[in-house]
């Protein structure tokens, strides 16, 4: 209580002194007090800030490529089956697959296949045709879903532009007739055993094909909320053959891949 009383006396004295000042002195005193406080605070703040230094940089995070292969009708790729090729019935068979992705401008479709059978592989861009009636319309490719429904796709007139990167021609004689066929070179292959011997069977050497130029992803507009631009492009893989191909019990492996360009 004594401290409070004394501080009260001091405060009252200060108050009286201040109140007795003329207006000019009052303003000057107030300014001086304010400046003193500002100087003290800024001095301490400067001391504090000059103790801390920073260095920074900004880097970009690339959006991961979202690109995947699917079957027709937006079904999982596990539904993609290359079954039912009968070389004695017609001269080609079509299979539908899909490339879907987000935030990708261009991509390439790549095909790698062995060459045991003299098949020709061609890829066409295709569009779903929900009004397609097989009894009336022509040219559509049927895709049978897991639920046994039929969905139809219309392939484009022209095949996708592309080229093999390791092809060589071989003349193959069947029943006295010379037949041209493409087989793979070993230019992209590591030797299986040692450098000197080419121990791999030549028809097992894959042929690599790639679209050129890259395909422009044809999709929806950019979505501001999801930050995504999605697309779903359908294709028809046409496996065709000439008269030299028979229904032999031969097998070929074919890989279809899609790669961001």
């Amino acid at each position: 209580m004594v401290i409070i009383d004394k501080s009260k006396i001091l405060f009252d004295r200060f108050k009286n002194w201040y109140m007795n000042l003329c207006k000019r002195d009052k303003i000057l005193s107030a300014c001086a007090l304010a400046m003193t406080i500002i100087i003290i605070i800024s001095s301490f703040t400067s001391a504090w800030l000059s103790h801390q230094k920073r260095i920074a940089t900004m880097a970009k995070i690339n959006s991961p490529a979202k690109l995947s292969l699917k079957s027709g009708a937006n079904e999982d790729i596990i539904q993609f089956k290359m079954a039912g090729i009968d070389t004695e019935n017609g001269n080609y068979k079509d299979f539908v697959f899909c490339v879907e992705g987000e935030d990708i401008s261009n991509y390439n479709i790549q095909i790698a296949h062995t060459t045991n059978i003299n098949f020709t592989y061609t890829v066409y861009q295709a569009t779903p045709d929900i009004d397609y009636d097989p009894a009336v319309d022509n040219g559509g490719v049927e895709y049978i879903t897991a639920d046994r429904d039929s969905v139809y796709y219309m392939p484009a007139n022209n095949a996708l532009s592309g080229a093999y990167v390791n092809e060589q021609n071989e003349v193959f004689n069947i029943s006295g007739n010379d037949v041209n066929r493409k087989i793979g070179t070993t230019q992209y292959a590591e030797p299986s055993y040692d450098d000197s011997s080419d121990a791999r069977q030549k028809y097992a050497e894959p042929l690599y094909w790639q679209t050129n130029p890259a395909i422009i992803a044809d999709g929806t507009a950019y979505d501001i909320d999801s930050h995504e631009r999605s697309f779903q492009n359908y294709y028809v893989l046409r496996v065709s053959w000439g008269s030299d191909v028979r229904n032999d019990k031969e097998t070929d492996l074919i890989y279809i891949t899609a790669q961001v360009s």
């Binding site: 800024s42 000059s50 920073r54 900004m58 690339n62």
Partner: protein
């Protein structure tokens, strides 16, 4: 007798009333005093706080800063940060996003500077083309689907800087703050002029903090994981170069094997592996309810004991179980790319 009694009663009532009035007056007086006391007390607390803060600032302030009469004298900071090289590609976004960064080579006279980059000291954010980068080229680089000049899993490198002591024997403690930012893009995937926005999603930020890691070289000349505790540089007398190593670990397998290829440091890789087993949820993305309790190992100051506990859990994550956890790791990478467009790497240095 009755009259006397009445008088006494009246007298008593009068005394009681007086006592009551005095009590009320006393109460009001106490109340007034208390109000005054509270006011003065509040002023005292404010004053005391200012004195404490002032004292703290005074004791931590550098010798060269002080008041001189009515003027304030400012001298150099006890240390400066320095980096040499070229401007970063995204410096413009940095200065638009965070205030106080100057385009200088040292922090002399500045609170902060933007990191200058070289071919070996950068985060894929140094232009390496011929001539000046045009605005249309920059517009293409910053498209949402551009893969140029950006970070992806597997990338790694380092950031160099140096500390210049202005006071001999100064010690500096440093922390690294890495923040994610989002940009907006127009209908053609080009970045708009809107400001970057801070990513506040805790889950995504956890993935970022566990997949993109930073390391420093300790006094033992080995790399150490840079955690929130930061690292120190003690007793500096001359300009001292420092390096921060960064890596976006590409696969969970590298963590499990304690063989982060870009690091080339087994002990640092083990530090990351311990971090993984202590917090698997920070590294792995799951959908739905999935518990990591079975593979989590508690932190133990005894490193050997913790490593032994990890050895027992390794098989649960690797081998035939790897496809599950490896996919979760890759999904988290995907999540980083989906939700973060830019990262700000900020080194804060403070005199000890």
């Amino acid at each position: 007798m009755d009259e006397k009694l009445n008088k006494e009663n009246l007298l008593q009532e009068g005394v009681e009333e007086q006592i009551k009035e005095t009590e009320i007056e006393n109460k009001e007086e106490v109340k007034k005093r208390l109000i005054t006391l509270y006011k003065k007390g509040a002023m005292c607390i404010i004053g005391f706080t200012i004195i404490i803060l002032g004292a703290m600032a005074w004791f931590t302030k550098l010798p060269g800063v002080g008041t001189n009469g009515m003027g304030v004298t400012m001298s150099d900071s006890p240390f400066e940060l320095k980096s040499l090289g070229s401007d970063g590609l995204y410096d413009e976004f940095l200065s638009d996003t965070v205030a106080g960064y100057e385009n200088e080579t040292t922090t002399a006279g500045a609170y902060g500077i933007m990191w200058n980059l070289t071919s070996t000291s950068q985060m894929n954010n140094l232009y390496s083309g011929n001539g000046e980068l045009t605005s249309s080229e920059f517009r293409e680089i910053t498209r949402s689907d551009s893969e140029e000049y950006g970070l992806k899993p597997g990338d790694n490198g380092q950031l160099d800087f140096s500390i210049i002591p202005n006071t001999s024997g100064i010690s500096v403690s440093m922390t690294l703050d890495v923040r994610g930012y989002n940009a907006t893009f127009d209908a053609t995937s080009h970045k708009t002029n809107d400001d970057l926005t801070l990513v506040t999603d805790t889950v995504v930020n956890n993935y970022k903090s566990s997949h993109i890691l930073f390391f420093y070289k300790g006094t033992d000349n080995k790399k150490h994981l840079l955690t929130a505790d930061g690292f120190d540089a003690d007793n500096l007398t001359v300009e001292t170069p420092k390096t921060i190593y960064w890596v976006w670990i590409p696969t969970l397998q590298q963590i499990l094997d304690a063989n982060i290829e870009a690091l080339e440091d087994v002990d640092a890789s083990k530090e990351v592996r311990r971090m993984f087993f202590e917090n698997p949820g920070m590294f792995l993305k799951v959908t739905g309810n999935f518990s990591f309790a079975g593979i989590t190992v508690a932190h133990n100051d005894d490193v050997a004991t913790e490593e032994a506990a990890i050895a027992e859990k390794l098989d649960l994550v690797s081998g035939r179980n790897y496809s599950t956890y490896g996919s979760m790791y890759n999904d988290a990478d995907q999540s980083i790319g989906d939700h973060i467009n830019y990262i700000l790497v900020e080194l804060n240095a403070m005199a000890k």
